[in-house]
């Protein structure tokens, strides 16, 4: 019985828990409460995932109204995987976060902060689970507004500016999306994604549809931080509180990528996107430019959070590159990188959050001698860095492997070579941090507080996961392959 309602429970649990946080008020109570809620949410995703893997896609009609007039929630192989990633990240990062916010956010604001956090989680889950394109916009706005607030609550004064810039760019992105949705509605009369796919007129008949595709692509590209629309991301990640950065880096861009996949493959279809709109020629230059520019900028950064933010932009480039191939291997690469990047980036940001907690600073000078002062945290950072470079037996290697295979399948030697070259760039910027940590003496002026185990445990869980899924690849790769085949097969 419960299983029938799982798709909607997935969103309802965090959404209803949020106002309860406001009611609860006390910092301690709220912090324990959110951990329980995130655990329940993760359980929900797990049940959905197992159900979908065994029985195929599951649907839910909101209010009993049948689609395409009613809003439908539909979970197939692709978004079941994504739900697992989002709720899993929330469940792992919240125990970490409830410790880190003790130092970063005033105690009287904890209940508000965690309430907004839960709203953000609900919004992201909602985007993933819904099959109605306008509902996507609604949840997108929910998650976006809450993330602006979350980012703005960072300690530095620049957090407000960063949140403001993100707000402007994010609103523009959402507006473009809305315009695109509106144009599609005008042309087809429906808002349900499956129905849109059926009623979509071919591009040569309608310039409205072309315009809709343009608005939708640009809107999602802004949210996804595709080069050159990525400029809001570095500051937003740098100045947000540590748990917010880790969570957003692991989930927000993944959800945007999912949205891009849905729009390109489910709503418009492979024929429209690749044969008519030539995405396989338009996207790779942007992706490659993003990878190269972001990696090079990262080399010169001294603030480690900013370095990791630029690194994220480069990793997003990999995902977009995988999409642009339009083949099963390419999509598998992109989707498995959804998972792998979530795991490795969140572990890196959690490690830096621990450094920030202990030392109060995250620049290169603070990193000096960290290999001796905080050996476990630094080791976790090192492993995360190896993931970024793509050393074998790490999760990062698996994604790169499929990406290069996909490039070679289509005989795109330059792209394959470029991917390998970008590993060298990653080696340089990670190498700078590693060199400072292991080959220099610690700065005597900075004193290190001990990092609580509640923060180290999630960090090491994620680090271990990045190694585990680098060796035992069957789970993420299998899920990604099923999702890829589903996307290429046509309507959900």
């Amino acid at each position: 019985m419960i299983t029938d309602h799982l798709p909607v429970l997935q969103v309802v649990i965090p959404l209803l828990a949020a106002p309860l946080c406001v009611v609860l008020r006390g910092s301690f109570a709220v912090r324990q409460f959110v951990k329980v809620v995130s655990g329940l949410t993760f359980l929900c995703s797990l049940l959905i995932f197992t159900h979908v893997t065994r029985h195929g896609a599951m649907g839910y009609e909101l209010g009993g109204w049948q689609p395409p007039w009613g809003i439908e929630y539909r979970v197939d192989a692709l978004n079941a995987f994504l739900l697992l990633i989002i709720s899993g990240m929330a469940a792992v990062i919240l125990p970490y976060g409830t410790r880190s916010i003790l130092r970063e956010i005033p105690r009287e604001q904890h209940h508000l902060f965690l309430a907004i956090f839960l709203v953000c989680v609900a919004g992201l889950l909602g985007i993933a689970v819904t099959a109605d394109i306008f509902n996507v916009f609604v949840f997108l706005e929910i998650s976006a507004l809450s993330s602006y607030a979350l980012i703005g609550m960072g300690r530095s004064r620049r957090a407000l500016t960063a949140a403001y810039q993100y707000l402007i760019m994010g609103t523009i992105g959402s507006t473009f999306l809305l315009i695109g949705i509106g144009l599609l509605y005008m042309k087809t009369g429906t808002l349900n994604m499956a129905d849109l796919a059926l009623r979509m007129p071919p591009p040569h008949e309608s310039s409205t549809v072309i315009a809709a595709f343009a608005f939708l692509s640009v809107g999602v590209s802004i949210k996804l931080a595709v080069f050159p629309l990525h400029t809001w991301l570095p500051n937003a990640y740098t100045f947000a509180p540590s748990m917010v950065t880790a969570f957003l880096a692991a989930t927000a861009t993944k959800v945007s990528f999912y949205l891009l996949l849905r729009i390109v493959f489910t709503v418009f279809g492979v024929g429209f996107a690749f044969e008519a709109m030539h995405l396989q020629l338009l996207l790779p230059p942007l992706a490659l430019a993003g990878i190269f520019v972001a990696s090079t900028v990262a080399i010169f950064q001294t603030n480690i959070k900013r370095l990791l933010a630029f690194s994220s932009i480069a990793q997003i480039g990999y995902m977009v590159l995988g999409l642009s191939f339009g083949t099963a291997t390419g999509l598998t690469a992109g989707i498995v990188h959804l998972f792998n990047h979530a795991v490795m980036k969140s572990s890196l940001f959690l490690a830096i959050g621990c450094v920030s907690f202990a030392l109060g600073a995250v620049d290169l000078r603070a990193m000096r001698g960290l290999g001796r002062r905080m050996p476990f945290t630094m080791a976790a950072f090192l492993i995360g860095g190896l993931n970024l470079i793509g050393i074998p037996f790490t999760a990062g290697f698996v994604s790169k492997w499929y990406l290069i295979l996909a490039a070679l399948e289509q005989q795109r030697w330059f792209v394959a070579g470029f991917c390998l070259l970008s590993s060298l760039l990653a080696a340089v910027y990670i190498g700078r941090v590693v060199e400072a940590a292991y080959f220099h003496d610690p700065d005597p002026q900075l004193t290190a507080r001990p990092v609580p185990r509640g923060m180290l445990a999630p960090l090491w869980l994620l680090t271990g996961a990045s190694l585990f899924f680098g060796i035992f690849t069957s789970f993420p790769v299998g899920a990604a392959q099923r999702a890829a085949l589903l996307l290429l097969g046509g309507a959900p």
Binding site: A211, H278, F300, L405, L408, L420
Partner: protein, 571 residues
């Protein structure tokens, strides 16, 4: 037990060296691991039966982490023996980071030779590069840091090329098995280049001369053993008979000799000669007949020991006298008689004096060239042999055996017994194989019937050696030897180390003004490009700094227009 990867034991031992143990006894653990781990690992590989193979599926590919055949067994034994000798030599060192790096490096090299597929090879290949760079960095000087970074780039680069070749082969043939291949298969050229970088192909060889001398005395010994011979193994397995290797190998055999004749620092001399020996092996692989391939393998086997021995001797000299410059050393036999014996053995081996191992292997290669009727190759190889005798055998030996003893007041001590034992093991192999070559010939992977000790071989070799010696003495007596210089000659690493303004200025001092201007212009162009990249991408640059909100929005609007136009007019 059979399926345990061979190098793993030593890699784990290397990691164990890093454990921060407190008690005084426990602090000696790394040194004992240095001795025990290779021995235990040797016992392990002796239990592996010939022909054993272990396969595993990873990422949808058939990998073979373990393959034991005659070739890999030979190299496995070789690396273990060498690790034992080097371990004994470095036993007295207390720096556990160097021991960790050395053990992990040796273990990775051993694992690589037993790999049956390119992916496993790639893993161990990169591991050797990453662990060995710490041996370079262990010297702690600023030069070694910079040199190590350049070394790392070359090593990782060769691994990346290997991976590229492996992936291309996989996507074309569906298999990543590591077997003999030809250049027409997609990916094979990348494999060739990847292997070649690690064994010093021309134009990609400068890391050898750059990084090896910068390491510590013990570190240089370890470094000289594994990387280059691993690359030779890979070439031997992957490209036997590839005729392109013959000219490449000839350049490698001849070109470093001139550097070696002129370099002042004897470590550099020996390393240039290592390069020359690698050239012989590469030529032999290129010739491709069973005799030639066996010659390459035998030369690798012996070469490890005499090069390591010479580097050990020089390491001792360095530790005692603080320098290894030929111009500063003479007549050391008076003060370090025992070390002098090892020097003599090493010099005799590298010069291919009969009854030493160099002769046993060089004769195979030269005979193979002769039998294949490759006249010019044979003559050049013979010429290179003469150069080797001159530049290493005679030059290193003259530091001990010619000239006056140094009159420093400092007490020169022979190295401790363990260190001497290490040198003894290496020297022992040189002599053992020299006197009983059939012990080595039995282990060689290909069928051959070769009699080394024929009167013809012995006499002709002795004729060559004695007349070379005579000529050298005459030239030396006439004072016509080239003046040895500290850094010898320019090499192709000028192209990437051109940030040495003094060097450019010195050349400008010579009368070749047009030459100088061209070099200067090229350097300016390269610096300009690097500077542009930096200004665009650093924290203040266009891409690195925070854009104003207006700029961001403008770009969004521009993009929208672009997309609309492109989609509308191109669909």
């Amino acid at each position: 037990m059979t399926s345990l990867p061979p190098g793993l034991l030593m890699i784990l031992a290397g990691l164990a060296c890093l454990l921060p143990l407190k008690s005084k006894r426990a602090r000696q653990l790394p040194q004992w691991l240095l001795l025990l781990a290779p021995l235990l690992s040797l016992l392990h590989i002796l239990t592996l039966p010939l022909g054993a193979e272990v396969t595993r599926t990873f990422l949808g590919m058939q990998t073979m982490p373990l393959r034991v055949d005659a070739l890999s067994r030979l190299w496995g034994l070789l690396f273990h023996f060498a690790a034992i000798a080097a371990g004994l030599f470095s036993f007295t060192l207390t720096d556990r980071r160097q021991h960790a790096a050395a053990l992990a490096y040796a273990g990775a090299a051993i694992g690589a030779v037993y790999a049956g597929d390119l992916l496993t090879l790639f893993l161990y290949w990169e591991l050797t590069g990453v662990t060995s760079v710490f041996l370079v960095w262990a010297a702690g000087t600023r030069r070694s840091v910079a040199s190590g970074l350049r070394y790392l780039l070359f090593q990782v680069g060769s691994g990346v090329l290997l991976l590229a070749g492996a992936l291309m082969q996989f996507s074309d043939t569906g298999s990543i098995a590591f077997n003999a291949t030809v250049l027409t298969i997609p990916g094979a050229p990348f494999l060739l280049l990847g292997f070649g970088i690690k064994c010093g192909f021309p134009l990609f060889h400068t890391w050898l001369q750059d990084a090896y001398p910068e390491s510590t005395p013990t570190g240089t010994v370890w470094l000289s053993i594994f990387t280059t011979k691993l690359a030779i193994y890979a070439l031997l397995r992957g490209f036997p008979g590839e005729s392109l290797l013959i000219p490449i190998g000839l350049v490698m055999a001849v070109y470093p000799l001139f550097h070696a004749l002129i370099a002042d620092d004897l470590r550099r001399v020996v390393i240039y000669n290592l390069h020359n020996q690698l050239g012989f092996m590469v030529v032999a692989i290129g010739i491709g007949t069973p005799l030639a391939l066996n010659g390459a393998a035998a030369h690798a086997f012996g070469g490890i020991f005499y090069i390591a021995l010479l580097l050990m001797v020089l390491g001792v000299v360095r530790q005692q006298l603080g320098t290894s410059r030929a111009s500063a050393l003479s007549g050391l036999i008076a003060r370090l008689p025992r070390t002098a014996i090892y020097c003599a053995i090493g010099a005799a081996s590298i010069s291919a004096v009969p009854l030493f191992c160099g002769f046993a292997s060089k004769a195979l290669i030269l005979s193979a060239a002769a039998e294949a009727h490759l006249e010019r190759t044979w003559i050049l190889l013979l010429f290179a042999s003469v150069g080797t005798v001159l530049s290493s055998g005679v030059r290193v030996a003259s530091a001990f055996y010619l000239g006056e003893a140094p009159d420093t007041a400092a007490v020169l001590e022979e190295p401790p017994r363990v260190t001497r034992l290490g040198m003894g093991v290496a020297a022992g192999f040189c002599v053992l194989i020299g006197v009983f070559p059939f012990l080595l010939y039995r282990l060689l992977p290909f069928e051959m019937h070769y009699r080394l000790f024929t009167l013809e071989h012995l006499v002709t070799q002795l004729q060559l050696l004695t007349w070379v010696l005579l000529a050298y003495i005459a030239v030396r007596a006439a004072g016509l030897l080239p003046h040895s210089r500290p850094a010898a000659l320019w090499d192709t690493d000028w192209f990437y180390r051109c940030a040495f303004p003094e060097a450019i200025r010195v050349i400008g001092g010579a009368a070749w003004s047009r030459w100088v201007r061209a070099l200067g212009a090229l350097r300016r162009v390269m610096l300009f490009v690097a500077e542009r990249v930096r200004t665009l991408h650093d924290a203040e640059g266009v891409f690195g700094r925070t854009w104003t909100t207006g700029t961001m929005v403008l770009f969004a609007a521009i993009f929208l227009c672009l997309y609309l136009l492109v989609y509308t007019f191109w669909s």
